[in-house]
Structures are given as C-alpha cells and as structure tokens.
C-alpha cells in the first residue's frame, strides 16, 4: 500500500513539474499525451468495457475539434466557451450515430461508424465556407493564462484529470457493471431487466462527449484543425493506443497514448518513412503483446 502511495506521489510530482524542466516542444508533446490519453480512454469505454469496436471513432474527435474551431472562427466564441460547447455538440453526434449503431453487432457496427466518419469527412471537405475545406481552419486564438504552452498544459492537465476521474467512477459504478454485463452476455442482461440498447446508446453518447472534449483541446493546442483528422486512417490511432497500453485496464489506454506519442514523435524525427516503421511496430505489437503493456505488467505481478 505504502509503495503505491509513494509511486502515485512521484507521478503527481512529475506531472506537475514537467513543463518547467523542458522546452516548449516537449510541453506540446506532454499536452498531446494528455489529450490522446483521454481520447483513448473514451474509446476503450466503448471497446473494452462495452464490447463495441468502432472503426470510425475518429469522427467524434474530429467533430469536437471542428466544433471548437468553427465556434471560434465563424461564431466568435472565445476559446473557453468553445471548449465547453464542443463536447456537447459531439455528444449530440454520438446520440445520432449511436442510435443507429446500437442495434447492430460487431462488424456492422464498426462499418457503420466508418461510413458515418467518411460522410462527415467528405461533407467537411466540401463545405469550404464553413469548415475551410481542404485547408482546414487556423489561427485559433486563446487568451489569458492558457495562451502560453505551459499554461495550456496545466489547463489540459486539469481537464483531462477531472475527465478521467469521472470516467473511472463511471466504469466502477452500477452503470459500468451493467455495461460489462451486456458485453459478456446480452441475453442474460435482457432477462435481468437491463435495456441493453439504451445502455449502449448512453455509452456512445458519453464516449463521444469525452472524445469531442479531447478533440477540442487538441484543436486549441495546435491552434488549427485539419480535415485529415476526420479521414478513416485517423481512426486507427485510438485503437492502436488502446491495444498498446492494454484494453483490459482503465489506465492502459493512457499508458498506450504516452508510448504512442513518444514513438511517433521520435520516428517522424528519424525518417521520412516513419509510417513504414509504425506499421511494423503495430503488427509486432499485436502478435507479441496482445494484452498491451498493462497486461505485461500484470503478469509480472503474479
């Protein structure tokens, strides 16, 4: 017990002090880790806890990012309000997409999320006036404390930490228990009074909310949004991070996102052909480390 408390305190100290020890570039990397960590945890709410694999999950991240950017650039909202509203917009998208998805199983559910994602992507590409089309939107301004990278880091840290606490309580609550139950045995769940479709739908909405929040934060961190964030290839990122970290633990996706961001930033610096190595890494990961890093850690504990 004492060891865990000390470990937690060390982590806390590192996380709080980190931005002062490094350059702006690295602060941005840390912000990315936090944002993607939340993104991946929300994805795992659907996958690991809910048993729903969404091939097109990036649609929620992208909608959150674009909602934030459009609210700022086209409607004159300030960064804070945009960040508060964007997840709500994404939750509505989650409600719509989820409504159609929850009745489907496995492959079809995945393909439908993929179809929705590409639908949103192509609409965004074609709506130049609203979304900036191919170019995306840039020049997202933040004012005040969060304008500087270090300030933004602490804001992101607070938001992500709070979100993770909320999600942690959710998966350990009766709601989370019912979610895990329907994942394993849907007929049994129905026979025990669980409205499985409604439960899955609610999970979609919640996951979309937090993915949208992550997207909004990422848009602000980059001061811009790009349509590529809505392309089908972007959906592999949350899947990869979750599997890398381990989909059977709550914190796994966060661990995965930290490793993924590090790996990607290192690779892009090393070679123009970083995608090649990333692809090899993914295949090796899946074949050699299917339970992810957390799975490995757990095995070493027993």
């Amino acid at each position: 017990m004492i060891r865990q408390v000390i470990a937690a305190l060390i982590c806390l100290a590192v996380v709080l002090a980190a931005p002062f020890a490094v350059s702006d570039f690295w602060v941005f990397i840390f912000i990315e880790m936090l944002v993607f960590g939340l993104y991946a945890v929300s994805f795992n709410l659907l996958l690991g806890y809910g048993g729903m694999l969404a091939f097109g999950y990036a649609v929620f991240f992208g909608i959150g990012a674009y909602a934030c950017a459009i609210l700022i650039k086209r409607f004159g909202f300030d960064a804070l309000s945009a960040t508060l509203l964007a997840p709500l917009v994404t939750a509505v998208a989650g409600a719509i997409i989820g409504y159609f998805c929850v009745g489907l199983t496995g492959t079809y559910l995945g393909m439908l999320t993929f179809a929705f994602q590409m639908l949103v992507y192509t609409v965004v590409l074609k709506s130049y006036d609203f979304t900036g089309g191919d170019d995306g939107l840039s020049g997202l301004k933040i004012s005040g404390f969060a304008a500087a990278p270090r300030g933004f880091y602490y804001v992101t840290l607070a938001v992500v930490a709070l979100s993770l606490v909320v999600l942690w309580r959710l998966v350990h609550s009766p709601f989370g228990l019912a979610l895990r139950a329907q994942r394993g045995n849907a007929p049994r769940s129905l026979a025990l009074g669980i409205n499985v479709s409604l439960h899955r739908w609610a999970t979609f909405v919640i996951a979309a909310f937090f993915a949208g929040l992550a997207g909004a934060l990422f848009a602000l961190a980059n001061h811009s949004v790009f349509p590529g964030w809505l392309n089908w290839t972007a959906s592999a990122t949350p899947i990869m991070m979750t599997i890398l970290g381990g989909m059977h633990s709550f914190i796994g996706p966060v661990v995965g996102s930290i490793i993924y961001v590090l790996m990607q930033s290192w690779l892009t610096g090393q070679t123009e052909y970083w995608a090649l190595f990333l692809g090899i890494a993914i295949i090796l990961l899946v074949m050699l480390l299917p339970n992810g890093v957390m799975g490995l850690w757990r095995n070493s504990q027993t």
Partner: protein
C-alpha cells in the same frame, strides 16, 4: 445550372451509351477488387483494410515491368501476370506470417494488423518508386477506338469489360463447380462445421486470402493504362471496394458484382450530373444501407 446542362447531355443517347460503357468498364475493375475483399471476409471474417494497398502494389509492379520490358502488348500481359502472381503469393505469405496466429483473437487485432500493412505498403511504394504519380500507355495492340452501337469507345476499356465477364465466369466455375469452391462456400456459411469435418481450414484460409489479394493485384495491373498510379491510390480503391461490398452484401460474390456494376454506373453518371457531390454520395449510400439493410442486396442475414 450544372443540372440543366447535365440534363441536356443525358438527352443525347451517344453520351448515355458512352457513360454506360465507361461505368461498366470501371465496374468490372471494381468487381475484381470487391470480389477479393468479399471472398476474404466471407471465409475468415477479416476486413482487409490493406486490400486497396495490394491493388496499388499490383499496379506498381505491372508498371515497372511494362516500362522495363518495352511497351509492347506482350510485355503488358506479362506484367499483369506477374503482378497477379506476386500479390497472390504475397497475400498467402502475409496470412501465414501475421494473420494465422490471431484468428482466435478479437477482431480489433485483425483490423490493426491489416492496417499495419497499409502503413507498410504505403511507405514501401514511396520508397521504391518515389512519390510521383505514374502511368503507362495503353498496350499498342489495344489502342484505338471502336464503334459499338455507333458510339466511339476505347478498345482497352472494351477489353476490360470482356475480362471482367470472363473472370465472373471463372469465379463462378471455381466456386460453384469445383470441390475446392464448395469448401469455400461451406466455410463462408459455417466455419466451425467445416473444421469438425476434418478439413484443413488453415490451408483454406491461406489460399483464399491469397486468391483475394491476387484478384486485387490482377485488377491493379489491368488498371495501369486507365488510372494514374500514385502512393495515395490505395485509399480511394479501398473506399470504393467497401461501398461495393456493403451494397452487395459482405461475403457475397454475386453481391460484389451487382454492387460494382451499380457503383460503376453511379460514378460514371455522378461525375457528369453533380460532380461536387459525387464524393459524398457513396458514403451516404453506405450509411443508409447499413442502417436500413446491413446485409446489403445479396448478403445473408447474420
């Protein structure tokens, strides 16, 4: 305004017939790719996200051989033969090395592995052939125009239609008139049953995967005179194939034919009538179809 002129164009029977035939030619190429995708899914339940990348690989290989062996017709056919053989063997190798171990794993893993291949092939072609787009000319014996129904139409595309029909017939004979084809159809219907009958399902999976990728490579080779071949080709082809397979029904070869013909025509007439919406349209269809009738036109209900 564009609508009006499109209407005028459509009133001209020459234009209509030409678009019909162009749609047919594209449809046949699409069929080859989609048939491979459906075949793989039907037997092993794997959604091969790398299918477009294999098509691209086949195209690049054919390209290289034609350019190296001279632009003769003989060189072209040799090129297509080699690209088909290579992608067939490549597919089998990939299946044995990477996919075989993870059939029992959750679908997430299979997705990631095929996605890893997309990344690898995407960069590999850039590495080997450079980032520019290439093409070859139409093989000399197949140049020129014919005038079926009094409408001028390129010979090569007519040949594509012919090849497509021939492949339909060949696939039909293979699947419905051979013992091996019967095994494939049985595996599509009930994998476990087949295993219980003592059939070496593993080898079947390997060959089917190879056949699927071989079809993609074959189509890629044939496509070189009519498409510009670049590193981004794989995405467009994959998306088109997905739409076709969803329309026709995942796992159904006849469905792939129907879907490909429809999408081919939609593409041909869509670009004529309302070009700016034509990239959104396939995803709209895909979304609506997955909501209303997930199994597509000819798929079997899950």
């Amino acid at each position: 305004m564009a609508f009006l002129s499109a209407f005028e164009l459509l009133n001209d029977p020459v234009v209509v017939i030409r678009q019909l035939m162009a749609g047919l030619a594209n449809g046949m190429l699409l069929f080859l790719v989609a048939a491979g995708l459906s075949l793989i899914f039907g037997v092993s339940r794997i959604i091969n996200f790398a299918h477009g990348a294999v098509f691209m690989l086949g195209a690049y290989i054919a390209l290289t051989i034609v350019n190296a062996a001279g632009q003769s017709t003989g060189a072209f056919f040799l090129a297509v033969l080699i690209s088909t053989g290579f992608t067939f063997l490549f597919g089998m190798a990939f299946e044995v090395l990477c996919l075989r171990r993870i059939y029992r794993s959750p679908q997430t893993f299979q997705l990631l592995v095929t996605f890893g291949l997309v990344l690898i092939l995407g960069d590999a072609v850039k590495l080997v052939w450079g980032p520019e787009e290439n093409s070859v000319g139409v093989p000399p014996d197949l140049e020129g125009i014919v005038r079926p129904f009094g409408v001028s139409f390129p010979v090569y595309r007519l040949m594509l239609i012919g090849v497509g029909i021939a492949m339909c017939a060949a696939l039909w004979i293979l699947l419905y008139r051979s013992r091996w084809g019967m095994l494939v159809r049985a595996a599509t219907a009930d994998r476990q049953m087949l295993q219980a009958l003592g059939i070496d399902v593993r080898r079947l999976f390997t060959v089917v995967f190879g056949l699927g990728t071989g079809l993609a490579g074959f189509a890629g080779g044939l496509a070189t005179p009519v498409m510009s071949i670049g590193p981004a080709l794989h995405a467009q082809v994959l998306i088109d194939a997905f739409v076709v397979v969803v329309i026709g029904g995942m796992g159904s070869i006849p469905g792939a034919l129907v879907g490909a013909l429809l999408v081919g025509q939609a593409n041909a007439f869509g670009t004529l009538i309302y070009p700016s919406l034509s990239i959104i349209f396939p995803f709209l269809v895909m979304t609506v179809l997955l909501i209303v009738r997930p199994r597509g036109l000819l798929g079997k209900p899950e």
